[in-house]
Amino acid sequence: MIRQALRIDPRRTGLLDVCLIGLAAVLAAFSLCESVGSQSDAIFFTAIMFLGMWFSFFFCRYAAKTKLVKADGILYPVALALALTFHNSLNTLLPDNTLFSDNALSVAGGICWMLTIGSFLTWRDSMLLFQAVPSLAIFGLVGCFDTFKEATALFFVFMLCLATLMARAHGRLMMKQAADSGHTRIGSLSDGPWRWMAGPEWALASATAVVCLSILGAPVIQEEAHNLGISGLLHIQPPNNRKLVPSLFNQSFQGSVSIGQGPNHLSSEPVLRAQIDHPDYLRSTSYYEYSGTGWRTYRRAESARRKPLWDYSQQLMASPQSVSYGIEVLKPMQFLPTPESALEIKDQPNLDRSWDGSFQVRQTFVNLPKIVGVSWEVPPTVQAGNAPSPIDPDFEVLEDQSLIPPSVKKLAEQVTRGAHSDYEKAQMITTAVSQRCKYNINAAATPQGQDPVEYFLFTSHEGYCDLFASSVVAMARSVGLPARYSVGYLPDAGSTDGFYIAKESDAHAWGEVLFDKAGWRVFDATLGSENVAGGQRGASTEAKWYETFWFRFIGLPLLIVGFGYAAVRAFKLAKMPKVVVPRKELGKIYGRFERVLLPLAGHPRRLSQTTSEYVDASKNKLGDLYPVAAQLNSDFELALYGFEEPDETDIEQLKKNVEKFRSEAKNNKDLVGSGKGKR
């Protein structure tokens, strides 16, 4: 049965067609999931769509001769309408069911569901083509978000799939039309009236033209639109993408961040260039509430009419000085990393300043110019002493200890014994954490149910920056210091043009403690810690190619299917008795004739030339041989394209005539010489 289903029939929708639209749909859904940063959802949609693809294929093969196959015309739109209507319920079925809960994104999730359900109901060419519509809509959304750079390349692949599918569907339509016209020899169309059809060379040329035009033209058009002042009139809030802030921070959609999640793979790809005096901590954002598994932003920060934390911390600073900096973002980010306590950003309407002074990106950041800003910095002469006491009630969250394990509190009290100031306490905590634990970017994840800080400090003693920073903040709060968990970048490589380049693997987390007069001070326990061999910070931990999502879930299955298919075909071909197709055999003999003509004509036959044109064009060079060649060519034309199928006698006769022509050409050495001379 399966063999029957897999039988290749150019007049029917085949496995390749279903695969093409399946791949196109997967690319669209994958791009959307990637643009919002959910690989698990991408895998989920991909898996279901592949299932749907196979179902559709087998169904359309078995039900091809029944009326049932035409039911997709009704089922498909109904299913799509239902998917869009109940998208909220369907979105809860996703592995990362919080991702598409946002109003704007839930519709996008609904379109993904439309594609997924639609993949089960694409039984005919018309529905296969229709499946491209939601895919296009999804790519449009992805383009609007502009948070997934690879989406453009995927869109080109999508277009290629779609074009191939359309070309195949069109071919089938033409075959059907040929049959409807009363033509009986459908199998030999390509040797007959379709012989001179624009073939793959045209398709290749068109595709190349489209790709070149797009790659070269798009930036020019964008620039022109910008110069005309008509671009960028609208701003949209792209969805929060956990991947915008590198995955080291394991940030979730609701503004929380998990810690102790195990090894993380970060590339050495540059993410920003910072024009600063010295390598500094570039803070993206900070978290304030410890949740027992990670950190959360201060949920009541915006709701209550509190004064901003950045304002409060600036008021604490003694004789602050402003320092300028420049940041050039190379990769989309959710928050703009800034040094010290950022005061303001010049001429940048796309940034929103949040409660604690971090700058949230309002829309795509890829094409923004270099951002110039000013930060406050306390002079080195100002010594940090004690924390503000008592702290303003609006900022009591900085001292929140509610979920900190007692063992951690006890340890903090132990290590800070004998300290003379709060600053000294913070230093002692940092040193204690450094000495107690080793840095290992490949450290295992905290077991389920365990407090990550407690597990790190008392059991594993291994981890990377998130656990070091969390431990420092938790212990600092345990002894009454106002502290926060900050994430961002710590570039360690300089640049010749005064820029520091931060790579993805330079993503970092650290603790900050608030002091009277000195403001926020960084306490980074990773700096003094011992590294586990091979687990040091900054080492590129980019995933191996065979561990990437692409390879594991798309490349490898396609390879397996491709190899399997090739093996089956090869096996079938090997078992197939050799059948002599008269016109194919004639084609070979004509090839021989062309090879005899080549040295005489001086150039091979052009693709646009018919056989008779080729002979006529070489009339002068052929000289006395021209009438023989013309007659032979005429015989070939009649045999190759005539309505009568040539028989074995015709083939034999033509073979003999070609041999005769070859010997005549050999005898005519002068002519051959002149032909060669002109090549």
């Binding site: 060419d125 018309s126 083509l129 229709f130 519509v133 296009l136 790519f139 449009g140 992805v142 383009g143 609007c144 502009d146 997934f148 750079k149 453009t152 869109f155 080109f156 074009a163 359309m166 070309a167 069109h170 089938r172 339509l173 033409m174 059907k176 039309q177 040929a178 409807d180 016209s181 009363g182 009236p193 379709w194 001179w196 059809m197 624009a198 045209w202 068109s206 033209a209 489209v210 035009l213 797009s214 790659i215 033209g217 798009a218 930036p219 058009i221 639109a225 910008h226 008509i230 671009s231 960028g232 009139l233 609208l234 795509t364 890829v366 646009s608 030339q609 018919t610 008779s612 044109e613």
Partner: protein, 413 residues
């Protein structure tokens, strides 16, 4: 007026819609790309626009620079499957996607089942042949020229057409006979009523020739010498007396052809005339159409039938004269004892006056009356009186004719 048969399938339409969708998507996304200044959208829309552009260029080139010739059969019958051969040459040295040809068939041909043409890829200076089929549903003599080439790109997204003038095609669509029950009164001496029975077919005194033996022929009339030569039974045929002639007069006064398409009073009358002519000719009777031709010379049955079909193919309801006047023209043209069948759908009072005159000449008139009301399209009213109006039938009968109200079952579908 030319009529473009457009046998585009559902899939092709959907492909064109897909092309429109992509174009619309490209336009909308272009606007959004500009408004948002999104690089990704700029790349996507440029790719979409470039794809559509490439498709349009390909479709545009595919229909340019062609030379076409058409070969249509000169003569076919209504309902026959007609295959038209078209030869195409490319005048440019370019490779093209497949093109299809749409013939500018005359609308009044009422062609049914027009198949799409065989898609072809025209080659430079090389004849590539294509064909399409259709069934003409209305008799007539048709002349038309011009062909439309429909070309799509390789993806089928864009379809463009170009019309080419060609030398005119001529085709005669011959009518076909539709059986009509004809219950003639038993009138001895009226040649045709004799001819209706097998035994009396060709049972006159004057020898006429031989014909095939048919069931009912007397064995004594078998011409054994001819039968031996021909290898089949042949019987001697005699003139069925001087009265054995049938004449047909068809109402073709302008405005009397009621109905639309191939379902009109004229078409029905002609198809019945064809049937009856064939039947009478087979029975050895002479068949004449005095208002359409001069009195025919005696030729063999097959040739006469072909002549009649060709003549009837060109009949149109475009005359000023009434059918009664045309019936009067028969006087003197027909041998005494002829039966004149007058086929009409609309009342013609002049016909009543023609009956006694024909009678005086020894001819019998059999008016075959059709209900024109039945041919009137829905929502319209017949402006004249239908020929089956009782008073008209009664008047004809009173005048000495044998009016036959043709049963509606015998009408064309």
């Amino acid at each position: 007026m030319a009529h473009f048969a457009s046998p585009r399938s559902e899939t092709q339409r959907l492909q064109n819609y897909a092309g429109l969708t992509i174009t619309a998507a490209a336009i909308v996304l272009s606007i959004v790309a500009v408004l948002l200044n999104s690089s990704a959208l700029f790349y996507m829309t440029t790719a979409l626009v470039a794809t559509i552009g490439a498709c349009r260029v390909q479709a545009f080139l595919s229909v340019r620079g062609l030379r076409l010739e058409r070969v249509a059969p000169p003569s076919v019958q209504v309902g026959d499957l007609v295959t038209v051969q078209i030869t195409v040459w490319s005048e440019r040295r370019i490779r093209r996607p497949l093109v299809t040809i749409i013939d500018d068939l005359p609308r009044r041909l009422f062609a049914k089942g027009i198949s799409p043409s065989l898609p072809i890829a025209p080659a430079f200076d090389m004849p590539i042949e294509t064909q399409y089929q259709f069934r003409p549903m209305k008799r007539g003599k048709y002349h038309w020229s011009g062909l439309t080439v429909q070309g799509t790109d390789a993806l089928g997204l864009v379809t463009l057409s170009k019309r080419y003038d060609t030398s005119a095609a001529h085709m005669t669509v011959l009518p076909v006979g539709v059986p009509v029950p004809l219950d003639l009164p038993n009138a001895a001496g009226w040649g045709i009523s004799e001819a209706a029975s097998g035994q009396s077919r060709g049972a006159g005194m004057e020898p006429r020739g031989v014909r095939e033996y048919v069931s009912g022929d007397s064995i004594r009339y078998i011409h054994w010498r001819s039968s031996a030569k021909a290898g089949q039974l042949l019987v001697k045929e005699f003139e069925a007396g001087s009265n054995a002639a049938a004449a047909f007069v068809i109402q073709r006064t302008s405005g009397t052809d009621i109905g639309i398409g191939a379902n009109t009073t004229m078409e029905t009358m002609i198809s019945h005339a064809v049937y009856l002519s064939d039947a009478f000719l087979r029975q050895g009777a002479r068949v004449e159409f005095p208002s359409l031709e001069e009195i025919s010379r005696s030729i063999n049955t097959r040739e006469r039938m072909a002549e009649i079909l060709d003549m009837l193919a060109g009949v149109q309801a475009d005359q000023q004269e009434s059918v009664g006047t045309e019936a009067l023209e028969c006087i003197g043209k027909l041998p005494p004892g002829s039966t004149v069948f007058v086929l009409l759908g609309i009342v013609d009072e002049l016909l009543i006056g023609a009956v006694p005159l024909l009678h005086a000449q020894g001819s019998q008139m059999v008016p075959m009356l059709y209900d024109a009301e039945r041919f009137v399209p829905k929502g319209r009213k017949l402006k004249a009186e239908s020929a089956i109006t009782p008073w008209f039938v009664e008047e004809l009968r009173s005048a000495g004719a044998f009016p036959v109200v043709v049963s509606a079952e015998a009408y064309l579908a």
